[in-house]
Amino acid sequence: MTGTRSRRLALGISLLVALAALGLLASGLLGRNIVYYWTPTQLLDAGDQAQGARIRLGGRVAMGSIAFDEATAELRFRLHDDSREVSVRAVGTPPEMFREGIGAVVEGTLARDGVFEARRLLVKHDNRYRAPVEGRHSGDPFESVEDL
């Protein structure tokens, strides 16, 4: 009997250790893979902390700010919210829906020069899809984005 009992104890303890290790691994991975959803104001308030962190920056594309260099495929524009503005740099052809004034979300991080380096560009997909009303505020800049 003692044989089986001690074997069970050993089995139980090794299971617990394995689960604890998995839990640690999971929490470590979680910590490293968090993507922050920020507005330009939050990004600028965070300052240096924003450098290197994975961030989804959501805002509106500023009027007259889109510049696309066909030779280098570099896309530059500015995203703004109610009060502040951030310059964004991305590589790649802007998608058809990408225009001035639309809601957009970029994923990437803040570079040292204060420009946001976007790896991914997502255009806000208008879920309710009525004709866009100029100046209409959407509550949540991250609501219904489509990956492109």
């Binding site: 089995l11 299971l15 689960l19 998995l22 691994l25 999971a26 991975l29 979680l30 490293r32 893979n33 968090i34 993507v35 922050y36 959803y37 920020w38 994975r54 989804r56 066909e70 495929a73 790649g92 052809t93 802007p94 998608p95 058809e96 829906m97 639309i102 255009v123 997909h125 208008d126 879920n127 899809y129 009525r130 004709a131 866009p132 991250f142 609501e143 219904s144 984005v145 489509e146 990956d147 492109l148």
Partner: protein
């Protein structure tokens, strides 16, 4: 006319469901066969009434009756028939109606399955089902309200969300997933009945298993079709993004899969009956959580098309069910009799238990990653999401462990493994796994791909060995050749089903590993008539055209595809413009072969130069994902196939 009739039908269904609940309760409590019969009749009547209400809504949609509020909300005169039919589940109010309709059908199916069951089991399970049905009916009538008469009848409606109109899979994927999701209520009710009556006989377990297998088969197909839709419509070259809504469908699939394996322990060895039932109860809770996640709008997701105020009510319902389940388990678990055989670790049951554990850890991992943003927002107020690398890093080793156990389990015997027999059982599969693994190391390198290929080949070899064993035994006994040997497999649907599903999982694992580690993507811009060589293909941009497709305008970019000297035809990725959508919807074009897919996704066509910018993907092995998935679901259905009842042999 239709609004009134629809509401009358729904109210009548609610009354029938009330009768069902009461009669089921009496049948369960007093073991009354009469009450059980009444419950069964009520279940059928409710199912017919719900079918009537759903049919009425389809008639209203097809007849463009904009006096019905739901038709005014999602109907349109421009949509083709299939979009019009699929509009039923394109928005919250209609999808709730569709939901409760399927639930009604499952309740009727349960009523049919419990014809011969004892009145207490039949009664308790039907009463539980009625409780769930009552809640959803109440949601339809109180929150969904699809049949409201419009005061001002609009001349036309907006049609469903363009993303849902963009591919015909939207007509198939939601119903299949719903059948699986909603159907989970049936196994749940049966497990509750077992706990309440303290009984878990072989017959009841068989009914429970067969219902669960059908639910699982539909769930499998539904999840796959969702991935396929994502692949064919969203244009990012992938099929799974660890999106909350995708995870919501995966979670109950994981626990239900674990359940089938636990069930074998209970059926064959009488072990862990409580654990087996717990897995069913948890699976149902996870479908409720999944429904909440897709329908409440609290998650940012590409698949979530409805945002609604039903969140809090739903959360309360989940809490209620959770409390009920916890109470039932603590109060009634002791009532289940245990006649379990002693447990031995190095055996089939040992691997099954380990496998259950890995499934559970997998489930917790996905759940943690899915709910973390919500918890974080509640605690700190920050909006965050959990990136795919978390899921990939956690999921890959766990999935591989499962593939390994999938091979190891069936290779071991029940009970004690005779010393020395392990080598004989595993030698052939081990060789079968090592060889392809080594070949892949040489050809493509990497860690995950060769490991996946090796383990998958190992488990396929075990499955083949397990299916060959009865064939060989039969041939040796009857001496009538291979055909007769193979015919014996017809009498072993569970074994055949299990191994077909296992082979399917192995195929899927390889397809996922290949497509994720060998994918190549690029961005190219071509002027008309210009060609580009890419990954062995030659793409020539022929020019653009614009096609009127009735409900939409397709702006297509035509490409001639060649490989060496061989003409592979044309591909036309497009931008679809819907009349009421402010933005066009990109629609990729895919050339799919067994080896690899060529996937073109149009980014934009320059209005002046007509130059087309597109993203090109080479996706190896994706076709095998769908093939493997089809095998998995097929395995489930084969295993659920009723064995012919042997006539009682009376000497």
């Amino acid at each position: 006319m239709i609004p009134t009739a629809g509401n009358v039908l729904l109210f009548a269904a609610m009354v029938a469901t009330g009768v069902l609940a009461a009669a089921g309760w009496v049948a369960g409590h007093r073991r009354s066969p009469g009450a059980a019969d009444l419950a069964r009749q009520a279940a059928w009547i409710a199912a017919i009434l719900l079918s009537g209400a759903t049919l009425l809504m389809e008639i209203a949609l097809l007849g463009r009756d904009f006096s019905v509020s739901y038709v005014a909300q999602v109907g349109s005169r421009a949509t083709p028939v299939w979009v019009t039919i699929a509009s039923l589940w394109s928005s919250l109010d209609g999808s709730l109606l569709f939901w409760v309709f399927i639930l009604g059908l499952w309740t009727a199916s349960l009523a049919r399955a419990t014809r011969r069951a004892d009145p207490d089991l039949a009664g308790w399970s039907l009463a539980t089902m009625a409780g769930v049905q009552f809640f959803f009916l109440w949601l339809v009538l109180a929150a969904g309200r699809p049949f409201v008469r419009m005061d001002v009848i609009p001349p036309d409606g907006p049609g469903p969300n363009p993303l849902l109109q963009n591919h015909v899979l939207m007509a198939i994927h939601p119903p299949t997933l719903y059948i699986g999701f909603v159907g989970m209520a049936a196994p749940f009710s049966m497990a509750v009945a077992s706990l309440l009556s303290g009984r878990l006989e072989a017959d009841w377990l068989r009914t429970l298993r067969n219902h669960s297998l059908v639910v699982w088969g539909f769930l499998t197909i539904g999840i796959l079709l969702g991935g396929w839709w994502s692949y064919e419509v969203l244009g990012w070259g992938g099929y799974w993004a660890w999106d909350p809504v995708e995870n919501a469908s995966l979670l109950p699939w994981l626990t239900l899969t674990a359940f089938f394996h636990a069930l074998l322990l209970t059926e064959r060895r009488g072990q862990f009956p409580g654990w087996t039932l717990t897995l069913v109860l948890v699976s149902f809770l996870l479908t409720l959580l999944g429904t909440f996640m897709t329908r409440s709008g609290v998650f940012n997701s590409v698949h979530s098309f409805t945002q609604s105020p039903i969140g809090p009510v739903f959360l309360a319902f989940i809490a209620l069910v959770l409390l009920g389940v916890a109470f039932l388990l603590s109060a009634r678990l002791g009532a289940l009799e245990r006649t379990g055989a002693p447990f031995t670790p190095i055996s089939r049951e040992g691997t099954f238990l380990l496998h259950n554990l890995v499934f559970l850890v997998f489930c917790c991992t996905v759940l943690l990653g899915t709910l973390y943003p919500l918890l974080n927002q509640a605690l700190t107020g920050d909006q965050v999401s959990v990136g795919e690398p978390y899921f990939e890093a956690m999921g890959r080793p766990l999935a591989l462990a499962l593939v390994l156990l999938m091979g190891l389990g069936p290779a071991l015997p029940w009970g004690r493994t005779p010393p020395g027999s392990l080598g004989r059982r595993l030698a052939l599969p081990a060789v079968a796994g090592l060889l392809p693994g080594l070949v892949v190391i040489v050809v493509s390198g990497g860690t995950w791909l060769p490991l996946t290929v090796g383990l998958a080949a190992f488990s396929v070899a075990v499955s083949v060995q397990e299916l060959a064993a009865p064939v060989r035994a039969r041939m040796r006994a009857s001496r009538r050749g291979l055909a007769d040997g193979i015919a014996t497999l017809a009498g072993l649907p569970r074994r055949v089903g299990a191994h077909v599903a296992h082979v399917g999982v192995a195929v899927m694992a390889v397809a996922i590993a290949a497509s994720s580690s060998l994918e190549v993507q690029d961005e190219v811009t071509l002027s008309p008539e210009e060609s580009v060589s890419w990954q062995g293909y030659t793409l020539t941009y022929l020019g653009e055209d614009v096609a009127q497709e009735g409900f939409r305008v397709a702006q297509r970019a035509w490409f001639a595809v060649r490989r060496g000297e061989r003409d592979l035809g044309r591909l036309a990725p497009a931008m679809h413009h819907y009349a009421r959508a402010s933005q066009p919807i990109g629609t990729p074009a895919v050339r799919s072969t067994l080896g690899e897919d060529l996937y073109l996704s149009l980014l934009r066509i320059d209005p002046e130069s007509k130059a087309a910018a597109l993203r090109v993907y080479r996706e190896p092995g994706v076709a095998w994902l769908w093939i493997g998935g089809a095998l998995v679901a097929l395995g489930g259905f084969v295993a659920a196939w009723p064995r012919r009842r042997r006539r009682e042999v009376t000497p």
